[in-house]
């Protein structure tokens, strides 16, 4: 391969201006692909983080209660009124937990006693949702500890953590007390921490308290209204939920079902990114191919001489394939550097009111490596037609020209 490599390099070096133009073309194309990919990935991660920040990937719930028809078969009723869904516990949730945790796609499992309540402070009251949790387990589901803005991350007996908006609405802060009222009980709690869940609505309604306390307040002693699950790959949640649902008499709902519109938006973004990548790759490939086609015409005589003095068709093919690969590799390496500059510029220029980057964009090393590899392969593929043309040149005719 020494001959092929030497010749490919010299041919590129000889047509300096031409080579520089196409390498710049490849670099710009690859930089656009890497930058757009990093931007979309960052945007998606940010969107998912903000939307699903306090939401489990899968929630296991008891099956809905339905009205059973006890009349003889064949009897038709004019209307069947849907049954009101009372607060119920997942059957045998303690037994179900280890079975769910054993699934290879499941990372963490956490039980929860959750229901509606009213928070009262003085004359102010707000409708809230109680999240009765085992704090350590629950932290593995939504990383609640990272969302603490004030106070301590703990839930001792008689303590609660609340969302930032609820704290504002009730005029309370860490250490203050508030009363929680449900349909069956009421109690007073001290605020140990205030959390920002990334969503104004959630921050306005969320109150975290020990699971046992929640069970008592909601009138389901020993019960868990749902089991929260975190999975290894967030986009596999739907499949995992379907699999989990098939093993027991439970309802498994993934974030993808409850956030259909978000998922559609993410998928649309993904498709758009892929389309941009494909078209930029095609443009880059056409650029490389056109330059190499011109090069074959320009080097017609040299190819003829080399064939006359013993170079085989295969060697000439490889010379041009290598040129394509070299252009792809060098161009994509420069493109990677250019993309890093673009990302740095974006982070520096696009900031929020606090001067912080609007969202975090990072170029993953795997993205850089795969882009380089794809560009090198594309460069090689783009060179196939010119390389075959070069190999088919009749040496006698090429020399005669």
């Amino acid at each position: 391969m020494k001959f092929e490599f030497t010749l490919a390099w010299r041919f590129l070096r000889e047509g300096r201006f031409q080579s520089a133009l196409i390498i710049i073309g490849v670099a710009v194309g690859v930089a656009v692909v890497i930058y757009i990919s990093a931007l979309i990935l960052g945007l998606q991660a940010n969107t998912i983080n903000r939307t699903l920040g306090a939401q489990a990937h899968i929630v296991i719930k008891p099956l809905d209660e339905t009205v059973r028809n006890v009349l003889p078969p064949g009897t038709t009723l004019a209307t069947i009124q849907p049954k009101a869904q009372r607060l119920r516990s997942v059957d045998n949730w303690q037994v179900l937990m280890p079975a769910l945790a054993a699934d290879p796609d499941v990372v963490a499992v956490s039980p929860m006693a959750s229901g509606a309540a009213i928070a009262i402070r003085g004359e102010a009251n707000r409708a809230i949702v109680l999240f009765g949790v085992e704090l350590d387990r629950y932290d593995r589901i939504v990383e609640l500890s990272t969302k603490l803005t004030r106070g301590s991350f703990r839930l001792n007996a008689g303590e609660v953590m609340i969302g930032t908006e609820l704290a504002k609405d009730l005029g309370v802060d860490v250490g203050d007390r508030l009363r929680v009222l449900t349909t069956t009980a009421n109690d007073q709690f001290q605020i140990s921490g205030i959390v920002d869940l990334g969503s104004r609505d959630l921050n306005r309604r969320a109150l975290y308290l020990p699971m046992r306390t929640a069970q008592n307040l909601l009138g389901i002693p020993g019960g868990a209204t749902n089991i929260d699950i975190r999975v290894r790959d967030i986009f596999s949640a739907d499949g995992v939920a379907k699999r989990l649902q098939s093993v027991g008499l439970v309802n498994a709902e993934s974030w993808m079902q409850t956030n259909g519109q978000l998922l559609n938006a993410l998928q649309a973004q993904g498709v758009s990114t892929t389309i941009i990548r494909v078209f930029v790759s095609i443009v880059v490939m056409l650029g490389i191919a056109s330059v190499l086609v011109v090069s074959v015409v320009q080097k017609r005589k040299e190819i003829g001489i080399l064939r006359a003095i013993g170079a085989s068709r295969g060697q000439m093919t490889r010379v041009f394939l290598l040129q394509g690969a070299l252009v792809g590799f060098v161009g994509s390496t420069l493109g990677g550097m250019l993309a890093a500059l673009l990302v740095a510029a974006f982070s520096a220029l696009v900031t929020n009111s606090a001067g912080q980057p609007l969202f975090q964009i990072e170029i993953e090393p795997s993205l850089l490596i795969s882009s380089c590899l794809i560009a090198t392969v594309c460069g090689t593929l783009a060179a196939v037609a010119p390389a075959l043309r070069a190999s088919k040149l009749d040496p006698a005719q090429a020399i005669r020209v």
Partner: protein
């Protein structure tokens, strides 16, 4: 001397199957011995270059057989043709046809590079010796575009002899040079014929140079008109 090349009833036509089909060689029989120094002469359009290309395995004959060192050449096997060209044949063209992206010594070592042979150490010394023999040792690292026509032709001769081929085919090697340079180039070809035991078949229009060859083959209208040993030698 043993037989190097044998052409039997070589015919060559262009535009086969079309209304303009033309036969340019009409059954050439030619035998060359090893170390022979022969001239191929004839008017323009007599088929000299076509015959040279067929002998050089650059284009196939339409009919006839060719054997080199007793082995029949199969024109349909591209790989064997390439190997034969690399191993047994050297080419010197009228317009030198060097590679402009490479220096003089790199051009000389190109056949070695193509064949995957070493281009360092002894191989480089050998290439330097060849360039020294053609009087270009000092210019060996210069790009060929920086050399004069005569110097470029000398590099082309050194390149043709790089792998010590059995036969060098020279297509009007002095056609583009002045008389004095032509004489120098011709002397070089003669010298390598003796030193390397390499046979030469030289196409030339110059009767002065043809007269200095051991054998003169004259081609007229695609036929060998005369094939004589030069009485002067």
């Amino acid at each position: 001397m043993s037989e190097l090349l044998r052409l039997t009833q070589i015919r060559k036509s262009y535009g086969i199957g079309t209304p303009i089909e033309t036969e340019v060689l009409h059954g050439i029989d030619l035998v060359m011995q090893q170390q022979e120094f022969a001239a191929l002469i004839g008017p323009s359009g007599s088929g000299k270059s076509t015959l040279l290309n067929i002998i050089g395995l650059l284009e196939p004959a339409t009919q006839g057989a060719i054997s080199m060192q007793g082995k029949a050449i199969n024109y349909t096997d591209e790989k064997t043709l390439t190997q034969q060209r690399a191993a047994n044949l050297g080419f010197v063209f009228q317009f030198h046809h060097l590679l402009p992206a490479f220096s003089a010594i790199e051009n000389v070592m190109m056949p070695r590079l193509i064949n995957g042979m070493s281009v360092t150490g002894a191989a480089r010394t050998e290439a330097e010796a060849l360039l020294d023999a053609v009087g270009l040792k000092k210019a060996m690292n210069k790009k060929t575009s920086e050399l004069s026509g005569g110097m470029q032709q000398r590099v082309a001769i050194a390149r043709a002899l790089s792998l010590k081929p059995a036969l060098v085919l020279a297509d009007e090697p002095t056609g583009n040079l002045d008389t004095q340079t032509s004489d120098e180039i011709f002397k070089l070809l003669r010298r390598f014929n003796t030193e390397f035991n390499t046979a030469f078949l030289i196409v030339t229009h110059d009767p002065r140079l043809a007269a200095r060859c051991d054998r003169i083959v004259e081609l007229v209208d695609g036929n060998i008109a005369t094939d004589r040993v030069n009485p002067a030698h």
